[in-house]
C-alpha cells in the first residue's frame, strides 16, 4: 500500500458566514494525474490553496506528504511545484531573468529540461514579461514550477490561455512527468476533453462538496444513459436506483443513472418488460447530469 501523498479528512472552509468547502475527504496516491472540475465558485482554488498550506482549514485536516498542510517544513515545500491561476511573474524581468531567479532559489534545477521545454513550448526568453501574451506568461509560469522537478505538481487552470497545440504539448509533458509513477500532478480545469485524455482520477466539486471522486474509468462505467424500448406503456416515473434524470414517453424512455453495473441490466429489462440499450456518456455530459 503506497502512502497517500495528499489526504484530507472532514475538511471544511468557512469565510464569514459563507461555506466555501464542506466535509472534503480525499486521497491522492503517487503517480496519479488528478483532474479537478467544478463550476465557477465551486471551491476548486480554495481547496488547492488549503492543500498547499496558503490558507488554514476551518475544520478537519489536510495533509501533504504526511505533514499538516498549514505547517509544512521547508524540505517538503521544496518537493512541491505550484502554478497559480494568476501568475506571480515579475513584469520588468525577461523570461531568462525570471527563470534564473527561480533557479537560484532552488538547490536543484534541471536546466536541460527547462531548455528543452522552453524550445518546444516556444516561450520567448529575451522579452520583458510585461510584453508577453497571456499564453506565453502561462507557459513561463509553468516552467518556473517544473525546473526543480517537484514530486507533486499543482496547477490551477494551467491551460486556460493556451492554444490547442500548446495545450496538447503541455498535456504530453504531464504524461512524461508521471510516466515513472514517482511524480504526481493535480490540476483544475474547465477543459473537460483534456481531462478525458490525461487524468486517471477525477474530482468533481459541486457547491463546496465532492460530488464525485475516483478513477475516471469507474466514473465512465458507472454513469450511463439507458434507452428503454418497452413492449407496453411504461410507468410515468421509472423505478431506477441512482437516477439523475429521465424522460418517459409511452413505451420509450431515456434515463441517466449512476452506480450502473452490467448485472443490473437483465433484471431491469425483466422488470420493465423492455429492451434497454446502455450508452456511455462523455465526461462533459456526466458533469452536466451531476449538476441537474
Amino acid at each position: 500500500m503506497t502512502e497517500p501523498l495528499v489526504s484530507t479528512r472532514g475538511l471544511g472552509k468557512t469565510i464569514g458566514r459563507k461555506v466555501i468547502l464542506r466535509d472534503i475527504a480525499l486521497e491522492v496516491t503517487p503517480g496519479s494525474i488528478v483532474g479537478i472540475i467544478g463550476k465557477n465558485g465551486a471551491g476548486k482554488t480554495t481547496l488547492l490553496e488549503i492543500l498547499l498550506g496558503f490558507s488554514p482549514a476551518s475544520s478537519g485536516s489536510a495533509q501533504l506528504f504526511g505533514h499538516d498542510s498549514f505547517a509544512l517544513p521547508a524540505t517538503i515545500k521544496g518537493r512541491i511545484g505550484f502554478v497559480p491561476q494568476q501568475d506571480e511573474l515579475i513584469n520588468l524581468l525577461t523570461g531568462q531573468q525570471q527563470l534564473a531567479l527561480v533557479a537560484a532559489l532552488h538547490g536543484h534545477w534541471n536546466a536541460a529540461l527547462i531548455e528543452r521545454l522552453r524550445k518546444t513550448w516556444e516561450v520567448p526568453m529575451d522579452r520583458i514579461i510585461q510584453n508577453l501574451s497571456g499564453g506565453e506568461r502561462q507557459k513561463l509560469s509553468t516552467l518556473t514550477a517544473l525546473g526543480h522537478e517537484p514530486e507533486l505538481l499543482v496547477l490551477d487552470e494551467p491551460v486556460a490561455s493556451l492554444d490547442p497545440i500548446s495545450r496538447r504539448r503541455f498535456l504530453r509533458e504531464m504524461i512524461e512527468i508521471t510516466a515513472e509513477r514517482t511524480r504526481t500532478v493535480l490540476f483544475s480545469t474547465h477543459i473537460i476533453s483534456d481531462l478525458e485524455r490525461v487524468a486517471d482520477q477525477i474530482w468533481i466539486l459541486r457547491d463546496g462538496a465532492i460530488a464525485w471522486a475516483g478513477p475516471l474509468d469507474s466514473l465512465q462505467e458507472s454513469v450511463v444513459r439507458l434507452s428503454v424500448n418497452a413492449r407496453r406503456s411504461l410507468p410515468s416515473v421509472l423505478p431506477l436506483a441512482g437516477c439523475l434524470s429521465q424522460r418517459v414517453a409511452g413505451e420509450r424512455a431515456s434515463a441517466v443513472v449512476t452506480q450502473w453495473t452490467g448485472q443490473r441490466l437483465a433484471q431491469l429489462q425483466e422488470t420493465l418488460d423492455a429492451e434497454i440499450a446502455v450508452e456511455p456518456l462523455g465526461l462533459e455530459d456526466i458533469f452536466v447530469e451531476l449538476h441537474s
Binding site: I175, A179, E196, R197, Q220, N229, E275, A277, E279
Partner: protein, 134 residues
C-alpha cells in the same frame, strides 16, 4: 522503440465516453481474432502508447494487464509485450460474431426505434463496409 506502424494501429478516442482501457482491449481482441495481430507481434510499451496518443498511462497499463489475464498477450522480461502464440485468426466466425454482439444489439435497438427494415439496414452496412475497405 516500437515501430511507428504498430504504434498507430489503435484508434483511441478519449471523448467517446467508453473508458480508454476498454477501447484498447476491444481493438486488440478484434485485431487478434481477425489475424491482423499475429503471435509474437510486439506491442508498443505503455509509455509509447500514452505519449503517442496523449492519454493517461494508467489506463493503458490497465488494458495490458487485463489482456494478459485473458491470455491474449504475454509479458516478456525486459522486452516488449507480445501477442500470445496460438491465438491468431483461430477465432471461428461464431466467436468473432460474439465479439461484435454488443455493438450489433445497440444497432438493432436504434434501428427498431427508427423503424428501419432489416434489409435496408443490411444494405446500408454493406455499403459502409465497402467504403471502409477502400
Amino acid at each position: 522503440m516500437a515501430s511507428p506502424s504498430i504504434l498507430r494501429i489503435f484508434t483511441l478516442q478519449p471523448n467517446l465516453g467508453v473508458p480508454i482501457y476498454l477501447q484498447l482491449i476491444h481493438q486488440v481482441r478484434r485485431m487478434v481474432a481477425s489475424g491482423q495481430l499475429t503471435p509474437g507481434t510486439e506491442l508498443p510499451s505503455v509509455r509509447e502508447v500514452a505519449t503517442e496518443y496523449t492519454v493517461n498511462p494508467t489506463t493503458i497499463s490497465k488494458a495490458y494487464g487485463l489482456l494478459e489475464n485473458e491470455g491474449l498477450v504475454q509479458r516478456n522480461r525486459g522486452k516488449p509485450m507480445t501477442i500470445s502464440p496460438g491465438r491468431h485468426g483461430s477465432a471461428s466466425l461464431a466467436q468473432r460474431l460474439k465479439q461484435i454482439e454488443p455493438q450489433v444489439e445497440a444497432l438493432v435497438l436504434a434501428a427498431r426505434q427508427l423503424e428501419l427494415k432489416a434489409a435496408d439496414l443490411c444494405e446500408f452496412i454493406e455499403k459502409k463496409m465497402e467504403k471502409a475497405r477502400d
